[in-house]
């Protein structure tokens, strides 16, 4: 087990460094800070107009959080998750990894860990910045606890979605297409369905950790939800993540990837 974990760690450290210095990471960093920019605009509006349409905490929990949950982490997880395998195949750099003394599954899991950590870091920074901007001067212990909770939800989201897209990337050629259909088709549409059908979406379990949203003008971001208990949600998300990662490792170990000449 120890050698396996050591292989994982090594792969993770190499791709943590490579992923951080990649040009696309700079773009996704800016993308992940968009909600912080929105928060800043709200705050500046309050400062200059002297009027607040809602409290900072309300805006944070009902706009910023859902912007991350229904857009930012999906895009990040989709890109980084599918990149784990696809970028090696498209870039024809796969032989450099598969001819090292590393279990093949450790390659895919190590890369997944590195890229998820990068995405989580960007998201966490943006979320914390947004929180601080919107709650500046109004910081309370309750708000801090809420921030930790929301951070946890986003990280779970990145971990679960990332695992799913890593599996799609290792198994399918058109992983991005199916990933987009899943993220912005299935995950959105299924939430309109009442009862048990909602439980077929990862978003449902993530939202189960959050307090029930009020109806109102931002209702387009939050939909009717019959939440699953948080403990069960955590278990299911964990199982989904483990299953997807196991499948990704298995597919990557067994599949032959034909590289373009």
């Amino acid at each position: 087990m120890k050698p396996y974990l050591d292989s994982l760690r090594r792969v993770c450290s190499v791709f943590w460094k490579l992923g951080r210095q990649a040009r696309r990471t700079k773009f996704f960093f800016l993308f992940s800070q968009l909600p912080a920019g929105v928060a800043l605009i709200f705050r500046l509006n309050v400062l200059f107009s002297g009027r607040a349409s809602a409290t900072g905490f309300y805006l944070f929990t009902n706009i910023i959080m859902f912007f991350y949950l229904q857009m930012i982490i999906l895009v990040l997880a989709l890109f980084y998750g599918t990149s784990v395998c696809s970028e090696e195949v498209e870039g024809r750099t796969l032989p450099y990894l598969t001819t090292r003394p590393l279990p093949k599954s450790a390659i895919v899991l190590g890369k997944y860990a590195a890229y998820t950590a990068i995405a989580a870091g960007m998201t966490a920074l943006g979320l914390i910045l947004s929180f601080l901007v919107l709650n500046f001067g109004d910081f309370s212990g309750r708000a801090a606890l809420a921030l930790a909770r929301y951070l946890g939800v986003l990280v779970f989201g990145l971990v679960s979605y990332g695992a799913l897209f890593t599996f799609l990337g290792s198994a399918l050629k058109r992983s991005v297409f199916f990933g987009l259909l899943f993220s912005f088709g299935w995950e959105n549409v299924i939430q309109y369905f009442p009862g048990s059908t909602q439980r077929l979406a990862i978003a449902h379990y993530l939202k189960s950790f959050l307090p029930a949203p009020p109806s109102g003008r931002f209702a387009f971001l939050t939909f009717r939800l019959e939440p699953t208990p948080p403990g069960l949600s955590l278990l299911i998300l964990g199982l989904v993540t483990l299953a997807c990662l196991a499948l990704a490792g298995l597919v990557f170990s067994k599949k032959e990837y034909i590289l373009e000449d």
């Binding site: 190499v14 460094k17 040009r23 032989p95 598969t98 001819t99 090292r100 003394p101 590393l102």
Partner: protein, 308 residues
């Protein structure tokens, strides 16, 4: 004694396309040249050797162990792929160092090994430039560097001389010979015959997915009965010399050069012919300026076997 690399009844199909057919081969330490035209199956064979693809039929083992499923073998194998592909946003140093880290070397050792490998291929000066700014030759040398950086005992090189200038090629050929002298096993694939000839006399000739011949170039040549040997002799009196062995059964044909100072003899027994020629030169004081065998080379072997 266990061969270093052994392939038994190895075959690979890509759908309906045959990549490799019934290859049985053993490779010993030293340099083995894998020779064949484009599309012959050389890269397929190397991919099977390095476990990147699995055989449709047969098995391949390295040091007595099956390749696929045994990741620890790779610490003893260095592979230089044919594709010109890198992590372009890394520098050359980062590239080699990162791949060494994956070999379980500590950060310090990876750094020093990378330094040494880059020095061997003359890339130290440009080691901190981004790979995307490298020329074709530099990229090729970098690929070689990552293949040797961890001191593997088996080195597999797929078209290693592509893109190198003549000086670079000479240097790499010298390096390969040094590795051979150290007792390592090196497989070099190429479709450029003079390159293989410069590297080794032991060849495996692949064409249309099959092995046409393997062994020493000259031994193979001798076995090609269907193509008599050619011997070119340059002398002041070619006709007089030719008359002396026209009666010999092993001399099949004699042609005279247009300059009137050479003759080309076709013989099906080269050894007998040379022995006869040697006696003529000594006993009859026949003046001979030059003797060459125009087809005792890899090009001729290749052409004869491939059917040109």
């Amino acid at each position: 004694m266990t061969p270093v690399i052994a392939a038994r009844n190895l075959a690979k199909w890509y759908g309906n396309v045959l990549g490799l057919s019934d290859v049985t081969l053993e490779i010993e330490p030293g340099v083995t040249g894998l020779l064949g035209p484009n599309g012959a199956g050389k890269s397929t064979f190397l991919k099977l050797l390095t476990g990147q693809i699995k055989p449709s039929i047969g098995e391949v083992s390295i040091l007595g162990r099956p390749v696929r499923g045994d990741a620890s073998l790779y610490s003893r194998i260095g592979f230089c792929p044919e594709q010109d592909a890198f992590y372009e946003e890394m520098t050359g140093r980062e590239f080699v160092t990162s791949l060494l880290v994956l070999h379980r070397f500590s950060a310090a050792e990876a750094k020093s090994r990378a330094e040494r490998a880059l020095g061997i291929v003359d890339l130290l000066e440009d080691a901190d430039r981004l790979i995307k700014a490298y020329s074709r030759g530099m990229r090729q040398r970098l690929k070689f560097a990552q293949a040797i950086a961890h001191d593997p005992e088996i080195i597999i090189l797929d078209e290693p001389l592509n893109g190198l200038d003549p000086l670079g090629k000479r240097k790499l050929i010298r390096l390969v010979r040094e590795f051979r002298d150290e007792g390592r096993t090196i497989i070099v694939s190429s479709h450029v015959l003079p390159e293989i000839e410069a590297l080794t006399r032991t060849i495996v000739l692949i064409h249309q997915g099959k092995i046409f011949a393997r062994g020493d170039v000259h031994e193979i040549r001798d076995l090609i009965d269907t193509h008599p040997h050619l011997v070119s002799i340059r002398c002041p009196e070619p006709r007089s010399l030719a008359a002396r062995f026209l009666a010999d059964d092993h001399v099949l044909k004699v042609d005279f050069g247009p300059d009137g100072r050479s003759l080309l003899v076709e013989t099906n027994n080269r050894d007998l012919f040379f022995s006869r020629l040697g006696r003529l030169i000594v006993a009859d004081a026949v003046e001979v300026e030059e003797i060459t065998s125009p087809d005792d080379n890899l090009q001729a072997v290749f052409d004869y076997l491939v059917g040109k």
